[in-house]
């Protein structure tokens, strides 16, 4: 990993990365919890994942240890897979209830 980037990353103290990614993560969580539009929920999930990616990168830079970045790629991969599945399910849902509102689907309860 090229030294320059690391130093560039290390310009900003770790705490900032922490806070930032926590913020992003929280936004993602909030979005997932409070929004009812499934597509937005998917995006917020992505947001959660990516905030973690950011965090990992920062850590890896500070630990000067590449494995975390490898992990980041894995995460991206997984996220992609999830989204595909998610969209498929979304399509099915649209077909079933003709809506993308999360709470349309609530026949199973109790």
């Amino acid at each position: 990993m090229e030294q320059g980037i690391i130093t560039a990353i290390r310009v900003v103290p770790l705490e900032h990365y922490l806070v930032l990614s926590f913020l992003l993560f929280s936004i993602g969580v909030a979005g997932v919890v409070f929004r009812r539009n499934t597509i937005i929920i998917l995006m917020c999930l992505e947001l959660m994942f990516n905030s973690v990616n950011l965090l990992l990168t920062a850590f890896s830079a500070y630990h000067s240890d590449p494995r975390a970045q490898v992990f980041v790629f894995f995460i991206m991969l997984v996220a992609a897979a999830e989204v595909t599945v998610g969209l498929a399910i979304l399509v099915m849902m649209k077909r079933n209830v003709d809506s993308v509102d999360v709470n349309q689907l609530n026949r199973l309860k109790g």
């Binding site: 969580v29 999930l45 959660m48 965090l55 850590f59 490898v70 599945v85 109790g110």
Partner: protein
């Protein structure tokens, strides 16, 4: 290694078989392949081989759980032959997805690196999202898939966060390193580490459906196709618990996390049992009962000592056996009842299919934990463990909850043995008979000679 590769290839093979439309071969091939994998595991029993540069560690623990996973999958495939007999399309995919999911399970039972843990969980989950939606034309199935997906990815988000934080505080993904770090902390505090631990546990707890991460399970269990439900409540649950224990089993946890686990145990026991009391849909009942069992397993977690893995292994193995059998019976009854899942469909089973009724009774008694069934020994060992580690009140609470549990199982038995009424005539395919009776016999045999099932 060989086994993992074999199973992955097997999955692909099945897909191709499906492509060329000879559905008759699917299950047989799958079963043969799985048995082969089983043999591979059995072959190199003792030796500890690390795979993928030590990301995966196939020790006795991992191997025994893997073998159980495979056996259960085989049983489910056997059942699948009859289950998918009517279905026209996408059968191959269903089998294949189960296999892929199984691989995920194998990975998380054997991980020694958190990356693998994450990947494994995802490999385990993503196929399940699809499987849950397996019945394309069924609304409920779709809903199940959707809920599972959303909540699942939500949880994996937290899991990731936890992993990241752990990495942040320990600068490593390797389990040993993390354990070392945990030990080094001792009584001191490391916020990052604590949070990381917390979120990771939360992420895993979601998979084992521990309160408060259980909300998906009743809906998904009810909505998903029965075979998939069976798969989830046996293979997935077993794998997840194996992973859970592998993760925290050897770690010196901070007191705080301990407190949280106790809390989680109590809540899970309470909610699972209490709510199950009010369930009339059998699958939903099984969902809550599985939450309840999660509670008992968590109780076993509390007292970490040398016996714990063995106890978990025994509990999960026997639980899986009983569950598989019951889900098969349910499917048959459901078929006869034109898709009804209310426990009334078992009414008068004893009059119409006495032997089936008796086996069902055995399986239910095992879940309830009545002596001379495996379930009793399992519960007994859990209590021994937790009491030996001094969780007096928690155990007492668990005992009371066990009583509650007995109630709702007995209610089902009562349905089956309600006199005077002739129930639905269930048609049992020979293969199903094979599986069911295997489960029944195993449950009793393991109850009489518990020594047979140990890692």
């Amino acid at each position: 290694m060989s086994a993992l590769v074999l199973i992955s290839v097997l999955g692909v093979v099945l897909l191709y078989l499906g492509l060329f439309g000879n559905r008759g071969l699917l299950a047989p091939v799958g079963i043969v392949g799985l048995l082969a994998a089983f043999v591979f595991f059995a072959a190199d029993w003792q030796l500890e081989n690390a795979l993928f540069a030590g990301l995966v560690q196939f020790d006795t623990y991992a191997r025994s759980f893997s073998m159980v996973l495979i056996v259960v999958t085989v049983l489910l495939f056997l059942f699948g032959i009859d289950y998918y007999a009517k279905v026209r399309e996408n059968v191959a995919e269903q089998y294949a997805l189960m296999l892929f999911s199984l691989i995920g399970g194998l990975l998380i039972t054997s991980f020694s690196n958190l990356i693998v843990l994450f990947l494994g969980i995802e490999i385990l989950s993503i196929p399940l999202y699809i499987l849950a939606g397996g019945k394309r034309d069924s609304f409920r199935s779709g809903e199940a898939a959707f809920k599972y997906f959303v909540q699942g990815s939500f949880a994996s988000g937290f899991l990731l966060l936890g992993l990241a934080l752990l990495y942040g505080s320990t600068a490593s993904f390797d389990l040993p390193a993390i354990e070392a770090h945990a030990a080094s902390i001792g009584t001191g505090t490391d916020m990052l580490f604590l949070l990381g631990l917390f979120f990771t546990i939360a992420g895993v707890a979601f998979k084992v459906a521990a309160v408060p991460f259980h909300f998906w399970s009743p809906d998904v269990y009810e909505g998903a196709p029965t075979l998939v439900t069976a798969f989830m409540s046996t293979v997935v649950k077993t794998a997840a618990f194996a992973a859970f224990y592998r993760f925290i089993g050897h770690m010196q946890l901070p007191e705080a996390v301990h407190t949280m686990l106790i809390l989680m145990t109590v809540c899970t026991l309470f909610l699972g049992n209490i709510v199950a009391l009010r369930q009339t849909q059998f699958k939903r009942l099984m969902a809550y009962s599985s939450i309840a069992h999660t509670g008992f397993l968590l109780l076993a977690f509390l007292g970490f000592d040398a016996r714990t893995p063995d106890v978990l292994f025994y509990y999960l193995g026997t639980y899986a056996l009983a569950t598989v059998g019951l889900f098969i019976v349910l499917t048959l009854a459901k078929r006869a009842a034109k898709g009804d899942e209310h426990i009334h469909i078992f009414r008068g089973l004893f009059r119409s299919n006495p032997w089936l009724a008796i086996v069902t009774m055995l399986l239910l008694l095992s879940l309830a934990g009545i002596p001379l069934t495996a379930g009793f020994v399992a519960k007994y060992r859990v209590f021994v463990l937790s009491l030996a580690n001094g969780y007096l009140l928690t155990t007492a609470f668990a005992v009371v909850m066990a009583l509650v549990g007995i109630y709702y199982y007995v209610i089902v038995i009562r349905e089956a043995f309600t006199p005077g009424e002739r129930g639905l005539q269930l048609v049992v395919a020979p293969l199903n008979w094979l599986v069911i009776s295997l489960c029944g016999i195993a449950v009793v045999a393991l109850g009489v000679m518990p020594g047979l099932l140990r890692m």
